[in-house]
Symmetry: C2
Subunit: 120 residues, 2 copies
DNA sequence: ATCATAGTACGAGGGTTATCGTACGAGCCG
DNA sequence: CGGCTCGTACGATAACCCTCGTACTATGAT
């Protein structure tokens, strides 16, 4: 049986409630190039992605660290599914708290990418 | 004679060119509560304000530090006028680089203020 | 010239961050 | 079971950041 909602989905991780999300924390999370890149890919894809889907130029431990920062700041929602940990943007929560902000940020990041390319 | 454009206006400070402004640096600058507060006041007022106009709960040296971060990230433009140092938001530059971002950011900050009040 | 005001420079303290490496745990597959 | 992959935990390191105090410069007013 492969019920996604069963306990087989794995232990769950601490997330801030919507009301606990702070703008400063979100901006800090997004001020790191690696994390901004993760969020951009997440937004481009639209669905949930595993941590290992991202091919980042850092080690596994560092990757874990960045995803934790994103989760604890309220930017992403993380769920275990089997051995994989799936990551999804908390679009609804963020749009509710800060209407238009996420889209502006993604647009700004996209523009800068077009302007400067990959060079960090 | 009180010509504002004369050399009497004082030495000038290094600012990043518009094209050099990086989103990550802007987000980092705005992720500090003190600096976010400064930017909010600056936006609310609309005109240039001196450093000493702000009544921040930190020392003068720390205030100097925060304004430098804001200037070096391209968020504000600083100009000496007599003994005062005037600060203005770089609205045009930011709007050109990242259309809508500053307004979204300010709106988000305003919303959070209404929601949570002053308590940092 | 004297003094007050606005801000700077420098150095230090204490905290946080990004990064790594190695060792470990938890699900899956043969 | 045994091994593979995914991700975690922990410790270490080096860099960075916010804050302060003290000493200093520069401009304007008396």
């Amino acid at each position: 049986m492969t019920d996604v909602t069963s306990a087989a989905a794995g232990r769950d991780l601490p997330h801030p409630d919507r009301e606990e999300i702070r703008l400063e924390a979100v901006l800090h999370a997004l001020s790191d190039p690696m994390r901004l890149r993760i969020v951009r890919e997440l937004a481009a894809d639209g669905s949930e992605l595993s941590c290992s889907h991202f091919d980042l130029p850092v080690t596994k431990s560092t990757t874990t660290h960045h995803f934790r920062v994103l989760r604890e700041s309220g930017v992403v929602r993380q769920v275990y599914r089997g051995t994989a940990k799936m990551n999804g943007l908390r679009r609804e929560d963020l749009d509710d708290l800060f209407p238009g902000l996420l889209d502006s940020l993604l647009a700004a990041a996209g523009r800068q990418y077009l302007r400067l390319g990959d060079r960090a």
